[in-house]
């Protein structure tokens, strides 16, 4: 059987849109996936293949070989790869294009890599005002210590559209092969969110999902202030992890008031700029005429 007839599902992010939940589910339920003839390439392995998108561009062969050899196994019809860093780092202060400034070149590289296969691209997105707040808090977890106002002031608010990423994916892979997932649907429940992901791969996938992921609480406003104060003194990854764990355990938004980052006015501004476009993207109403990629 030719590997060209098999499917490669590539979940490319974005950050802060439940990627860890999906990855953990697939890691913990590899046997279930196998029964459904799906093979999941673990996130750990994907780290080596993808990096921040740079490894994928510099040397795509290891990932290509992994996909190739996996699809040689007659049993598997689908390979699933997921890594939120695939599109590169978001919200770089000096970017000049959009949310994920390195995405176009990486998507081109990804297109070449997946050219021999039927590719399905999954991109989860969330509204800009949520994405910005959530990504900022993650950067604090990772040890940065710039105050939100300062960080936000350096963003180009006109360049926060998801559309360039989505359009590039449409261009390279074809709009019908690209699924734009609305992260807000996670409010219906984690199991439903995971199930929706697999139904998008194949509507026939109806296996029961009952999964309790480890909750990853956000830090509260007090926790944020403490992290901002302490982070400049932390010098290693393990130290930052210790601090993150401590703050999440004792100073999360479940115990203290949530961190208020964007003002109502700022949120309104972002919604005015992007809400309509966002709704169109997640509803699939705008496949655009730019589907120049493969059918």
């Amino acid at each position: 059987m030719s590997p060209i007839r098999r499917t490669v599902v590539f979940h490319v992010g974005a950050h802060k849109t439940g990627t860890s939940l999906l990855q953990k589910y697939m890691r913990d339920n590899a046997a279930v996936l196998r029964r459904h003839r799906m093979y999941y390439i673990s996130r750990g392995a994907m780290n080596d293949y993808v990096g921040w998108g740079d490894k994928l561009l510099a040397d795509p062969e290891p990932l290509a070989r992994k996909v190739r050899t996996t699809l040689l196994i007659p049993w598997f019809t689908t390979v699933i790869a997921s890594h939120e860093n695939t599109l590169g780092p978001p919200l770089r202060e000096h970017h000049d294009v959009h949310l994920y400034p390195r995405a176009p070149e990486i998507i081109d590289g990804l297109g070449e890599l997946l050219a021999p296969y039927r590719a399905r691209i999954m991109l989860s997105i969330r509204p800009q005002e949520q994405f910005i707040e959530s990504y900022y808090l993650q950067s604090i977890h990772q040890g940065r210590h710039k105050r939100f106002d300062e960080w936000y002031a350096r963003l180009d608010l006109d360049a926060l559209s998801w559309r360039p990423v989505v359009d590039k994916l449409y261009e390279v892979f074809g709009s019908e092969q690209v699924d734009v997932i609305d992260f807000r649907t996670i409010t219906r429940g984690q199991d439903d969110y995971i199930g929706d992901f697999f139904r998008r791969i194949d509507p026939r996938h109806t296996f029961d999902i009952e999964y309790t992921a480890v909750h990853n609480p956000s830090i509260s406003d007090k926790g944020l202030q403490m992290a901002l104060a302490a982070n400049p003194h932390l010098t290693s990854g393990p130290e930052r992890k210790l601090m993150r764990t401590f703050l999440q355990e004792h100073f999360s938004n479940q115990r203290y008031p949530r961190a208020v980052l964007l003002t109502d006015e700022q949120k309104r501004d972002l919604r005015d700029r992007y809400a309509a476009e966002y709704e169109a993207l997640v509803s699939g109403r705008e496949p655009h005429g730019r589907t120049a990629g493969r059918p």
Binding site: Y39, G44, T69, I73, M226, A229, A230, T235, P238
Partner: protein
Amino acid sequence: MTVQATDLVLHIGMQQSGANMLQRALSRLRPQLRTHGVAFIGHSHIADFEHLAGWRCRDDADAAQAEAFERELVDVVAHEQKRIADAGGMARGPVLIASDHLVGAANLDAADETAFRPNAAAAVAHVITALGAGRVRLVLHTRRQDRLMELCYLHEIQMGRHHAFDDQFPRRFERLLDYTDLIARLDALPGVVDIRVRPFELIGAGPRAFVEDFLGTLDLAGALDLDGVTDDLRPYHVYSRRGLRIALAMNPQLETAHERVLVRQFLLRNFSAEDDRWSRFMPKGERRRILAAYRDANRRLFQRHMPDLPEDSYDSNAATARLGSGHAGGAGRSRDIPASADTDATVRAARADGRTAQVVGRVRAARRRAAARAGWVAGRSRAALAPWVARAADRNTLLYGVKVRLLARRCDAFIVSYPKCGRTWLRVMLGVALSEHHSVAVRNVRKFTNADVDHPGLPRILATHDDSPHTKPPHRIIRSKRAYAGTKTVLLVRDPRDVVVSLYFHNTRRRGLPYDGDLADFVRDRTGGLASVLAFYDAWTPHLDGLDVLVVRYEDMHADPARALQRVLAFLGVDGADESVVRRAVDCASFDRLQRMERDGSASTRALRTPAADDPESYKVRRGKVGGYTDYLTAPVITAMDVAIARSSGARALGYVTHADDGSGRTRP
């Protein structure tokens, strides 16, 4: 109730000078003190007083409060004396009160720059009056002024404050903390017949020596049994310099006492001073200026009150360090902590509490000294050969035989395995079991399988990877195992497929060795890959009948670790290890525990420290799963491995039969 005593001994502090540690030791000694007629009242008693505020060590005490405090104090002392009398002890023995509040309740701060511990005399006088004591002896522990100020400041920060050191001690270069002045004020109190002054720095000789030195003031030195009393005591429980910086940054955000406790516990657990040095933050120049300012006063202090110690003991770091080294007179180096199971328990308790490595290190250091005195060898492996000799020997059959025989002369049994067969797990289980069974404690239980521990009745065991087969292609692996004749050998084996996967992650993630290829390539690699594992098994299995070999399979150990351990102990001639010992060994070496230790970095051995805690694949104790290779390898690769295993006589003899043999698709043990 009335107090019977006329003889009163007051340990009055100083703060940050071991007072708390001493109080804890005395609390543990209370039953023994009672048998000597000593009624001991610790600070914990006094801290419970409802009218503590009435004590005149506090500025805001009024007369009514003071009277209430006195009644409480008298009641407590009389109650303790009654207990002693009821037990048939001396009714009018001395009363010993230990509380650093006696020298002034608050921490040292700018107020001490008007008078060093301004409320000390009033507080002591209050207690003397309350108890109507006729003869009062005071004991005061001093601490060198620069460290005293540093520690008092650290204490304030640990309580949640966030001021600068300068704010607490603005005039630190002036000679304001003069012990001789304080002692003169106390000496003038009516009833005080003696003031015994000892330097805190004697703690360098160990907590036991420190407590013994204090008991000398009660004429009880050597009269009390201190075993188990001082093992876990530690004087330093403060932030490191970085902990201090983090606290200063975080404390302003804290609003409640609970939050302050949480942060303090977190920082003490993770950013604690590993030893005294790391809690020092004062610039050297400042320290020198302070020492110079106090030089004459401190020399006077030692001349008048501690004539058994050199008068220059507070002149410099080196001179102060000599106080605790046993070279300065006074207390000698600790002869204290016994290498016993108690110290193991201490270490375990310290770990369980998440305390710093300091207490563990202190206990271990004492344990090493005890082991050395007992004639054990707890240092570098006696069995170790120079690395270049070992490497050369592993590449030549003749030299290899010589090497094995040399090692065999130094041990009673070998544990032989290919890497990643669960050797660390077995070694930890075995080490804990031997440690508990023979009541021998060493710093690192893996020493039991390094032939590093000599103890009567204890087999000397040496764990080895034989001729380092993982570094060789199959044809270079030495097949003659005759050199093992006459020495018991435990051959530890594991499913070759799991071994290869584990070795790949060990090499690439844990050791960070570059590998030009992925896991499937590594499996096929002629050096270290599946072929090497199978060649190693093929080399050993023909000798299973001719040599004294016990085969232990990882899979059996995984299924029933207690039974596997019992088999090994029986094979090694360790008789009578009861079930509780085996159970404890299995628990201590459980996968979760070892992995947690590795994740936390709390393992005593570097072998159990991960280079990247956030990368589970880099752990020494990685997954501990039987058949985990299926999660990493594709079906064609697995099929190819199965075929190779089916062709290996060694693997088959060891019980690794695959679907290539029976068509079941599973490994059949």
